[in-house]
């Protein structure tokens, strides 16, 4: 479903993403781990079509993003780490706007879908209020509504838990699991090992722009030579001695 082939992103002298290759099957809940500055967000932005790669290819749902950008983006729902939105629109209007971008305005189920999503994310009461009056967590949830509105085949999610309270975080994890069970591929970046451990079936660890390990949690334990224990031990073992590691960035909450 998702293939990254020698994906690279260079900014002058700095290589943010360095020839990474990954394959994610359909319906997988894939975790993309790494410390701050490892290249996670850059990779996700390239996959969402927000950044142009320096080299390499991104194939989503059998289509090359560089050749068929509109068709690929139609299959994707992107949830960025920071929810910058149009402050002067209400929640409802924003979702109508998103529906228009995906040419869903005349879909008979649109109204029902919007109501359903707002209810799931507990935003119904705020639907007609301007986004400028929303808290960070509410904005984040609204972005998730927008990303799921057109029933994407691929969800690209960057640090979804930032700014969410425990209840909302639980809700989001359940939704991602539910989406994956229904055949949507979820590609999620996080620096929270606990979240990755709880929801992800497969994980790739990126550091300094390169994939240093990938596989199921058991595969990673085997690679790290850690028989038991949580992902934190695995992560630390795999990344020990490598430049750029910042142990304080490993979050267990």
């Amino acid at each position: 479903m998702i293939e990254l082939l020698n994906l690279t992103k260079r900014y002058r002298d700095f290589t943010a993403v360095d020839h990474i290759s990954l394959e994610v099957p359909q319906g997988a809940l894939f975790g993309f781990l790494g410390p701050n500055g490892a290249g996670k967000t850059t990779t996700l932005k390239m996959m969402a079509g927000v950044l142009k790669p320096t080299s390499g290819r991104i194939i989503i749902n059998g289509m090359d993003l560089s050749r068929q950008p509109s068709e690929v983006k139609r299959c994707i729902g992107f949830i960025p780490d920071r929810p910058f939105l149009y402050e002067k629109l209400s929640g409802n209007e924003f979702l109508q706007f998103i529906a228009g971008l995906y040419r869903m305005n005349h879909a008979p189920y649109l109204g029902k879908r919007i109501v359903e999503l707002l209810e799931i994310f507990e935003l119904s009461h705020w639907a007609d209020e301007l986004i400028e009056s929303y808290s960070h967590g509410m904005k984040q949830r609204l972005v998730m509504c927008a990303a799921l509105l057109h029933k994407p085949k691929v969800l690209i999610v960057d640090e979804p838990m930032v700014g969410l309270d425990p209840k909302a975080a639980r809700l989001v994890k359940d939704i991602f699991k539910d989406q994956a069970e229904n055949g949507t591929t979820v590609f999620m970046s996080t620096h929270s090992l606990e979240v990755a451990q709880e929801v992800c079936q497969e994980i790739a660890i990126i550091q300094a722009g390169r994939i240093i390990a990938s596989g199921t949690p058991d595969n990673l334990r085997e690679k790290a030579g850690v028989a038991t224990g949580n992902l934190e031990k695995v992560f630390l073992k795999l990344t020990e001695g490598k430049t750029g590691i910042d142990e304080k960035s490993l979050s267990s909450s």
């Binding site: 950044l51 950008p69 529906a99």
Partner: protein
């Protein structure tokens, strides 16, 4: 920038000295004029200071992001308020001081007063600023306790726009050009009477005027000490009143200002407007237009500029209606049509100025939410053409008003009406396309204030290119239009060889317009596709 400021200062000083020097040479009324001018200047500055303090106080006392830290600190409320008050004075007054000082120095240069003038100017100027600050801050504190701070800002901003528009229209309708028209001069006695009429004696600016005037003329009078005491006692009194008021209501107002803004009405009107605008377009472009219209009309700082634009158009048309064409030595029918033709340049400039304010920032106005469009299936090309489709109708309407209405006022020939209308109609396509294209070439999605986008390097480039574009159009058409117009006026036919110049010129104009649409939009599309 410093050089520009110094240049401006010198310019103000030179002009003021010149005017005052001229007044001195006029017998009887010269001193009256200078005195009246001083009173007017100080009154205007006082008013500007009050207004400036109202706006700055709102920001410094209620909306500034560091206020949370200040209020959570153990600092005494009185100290906090006083520090913010002083900061507000500094923030609001510097510009008025810079503008006012060359005028005051010009008075000193012309009248050569003693050192008393400079001492009085310094301490009375300071006291006047404190009075203005006190009034402004007090007004703000009271207003915020009635309306939330966010709403107060909207109200003040709207009131200021209304005020500026009203003053602008009033000034123009007073027809100040009559003062230099001998035929419009009424009797000298009436004129002198008008000058002698005192300004309001209860305003601090009046007390400062009288005091400074006495020093300028070397007059000693009993009133001087009284005026000085009035100014200073007012300054002290307003400070005390502010401190008392702050103790009573400042913190409550600040707390209220933390509340979120409540959604206002007008939704149905916006729904109707957007339905109309997006009817002929596809869903994705319709969404862009819908979003733009809603965001525009929900941002008071944006739509209120339409009021200024409206005033500009009214005065623009009024200027044409009062043109003294009958006093010109050139035959009227030639003059009218000449003016109409040249008016294309002026109208084009107005359209460019409007465009740089509203259309050029259109791409950047997406702000940090631009990622939504980048990650959507909407292509960069459709995005830009969507913006184009949105801004074309209002710009066509504006150009129609500027050209057709003025040409009707000038009573031009049908030929000239057709040429001007057709030319501007085509030029609008290019002006809008260049606005969108340049805006995409020089985007600024991280702006703090949308006005910054218009005044950027890209905005300057846009204005330069539109000026060149319009100049070429007018240059290409000038010759052919003259030939055709003169042939019509004389009732003669045009020589065959001249058509070989006329037709290519007009074709050139059409080609230029096509290039002005195609090239910027293409370059803008490529720039947006490559944008990171």
């Amino acid at each position: 920038m410093v050089g520009l400021g110094i240049l401006f200062w010198v310019f103000m000083f030179a002009v003021s000295s010149r005017v005052l020097g001229y007044f001195q040479s006029v017998e009887v009324i010269g001193d009256l004029l200078a005195h009246h001018l001083l009173a007017m200047v100080l009154l205007i500055f006082f008013s500007l200071l009050v207004f400036s303090h109202i706006i700055t106080a709102l920001s410094n006392l209620y909306l500034s992001t560091d206020l949370e830290l200040c209020h959570s600190s153990p600092a005494d409320l009185d100290e906090l308020f006083l520090s913010r008050f002083i900061y507000t004075i500094a923030d609001s007054s510097w510009m008025v001081i810079i503008f006012g000082l060359p005028v005051m120095m010009a008075y000193a240069y012309v009248y050569r007063p003693g050192p008393g003038y400079y001492v009085a100017l310094f301490h009375l100027g300071f006291a006047l600023i404190v009075v203005a600050a006190g009034i402004g801050v007090l007004f703000t504190m009271l207003l915020v306790n009635i309306f939330p701070a966010q709403r107060t800002r909207d109200i003040i901003m709207l009131l200021s726009i209304f005020l500026i528009v009203a003053l602008y229209l009033m000034f123009r309708f007073l027809r100040p050009e009559r003062l230099v028209d001998p035929d419009a001069f009424f009797s000298a006695m009436q004129y002198i009477s008008a000058l002698k009429a005192p300004d309001t004696p209860y305003l601090p600016s009046h007390w400062v005027t009288e005091t400074l005037w006495k020093y300028l003329r070397g007059l000693k009078g009993e009133g001087t000490l009284l005026n000085v005491m009035l100014v200073w006692s007012s300054a002290v009194a307003i400070m005390v009143i502010n401190m008392w008021t702050a103790r009573a209501i400042y913190f409550a107002g600040f707390s209220k200002s933390q509340e979120a803004r409540k959604r206002r009405g007008g939704r149905r009107l916006l729904d109707a407007l957007t339905t109309l605008a997006k009817k002929p377009l596809g869903d994705d472009l319709a969404s862009i237009i819908d979003k733009e219209i809603r965001a525009f009309f929900r941002d008071n700082t944006q739509w209120s500029q339409l009021l200024l634009l409206g005033a500009l158009v009214v005065v623009y048309l009024y200027n044409f209606s009062v043109l003294p064409l009958d006093k010109s030595p050139i035959r009227i029918e030639f003059l009218q049509n000449e003016i109409a033709f040249l008016n294309m340049g002026l109208a084009g400039f107005v359209l460019s100025a409007v465009s740089v304010r509203f259309i050029y920032p259109a791409v950047s106005s997406e702000g940090k939410a631009f990622w939504i469009l980048r990650s959507s299936p909407l292509s960069a090309k459709r995005f830009l053409w969507g913006k184009y489709a949105l801004y074309m109708p209002p710009m066509l309407l504006l150009s129609g008003v500027l050209i057709i209405a003025t040409n009707r006022l000038l009573q031009v020939t049908p030929l000239m009406m057709f040429v001007c209308s057709a030319t501007m109609f085509m030029a609008v396509f290019g002006i809008v396309a260049m606005g969108i294209g340049f805006g995409a070439l020089y985007p600024n999605f991280g702006y703090q204030n949308i006005a910054q986008v218009s005044t950027s390097f890209g905005g300057l480039m846009y204005m330069i290119f539109t000026a060149i574009f319009l100049a070429i159009i007018i240059g290409l058409e000038a010759g052919p239009v003259y030939v055709i117009f003169m042939a019509q006026a004389k009732g003669s036919s045009i020589a065959l060889w001249k058509w070989f110049l006329i037709i290519p010129s007009f074709i050139g104009v059409v080609i230029l317009n096509c290039v002005a649409v195609y090239k910027p939009m293409k370059m803008g599309t490529e720039a947006i596709e490559e944008y990171e």
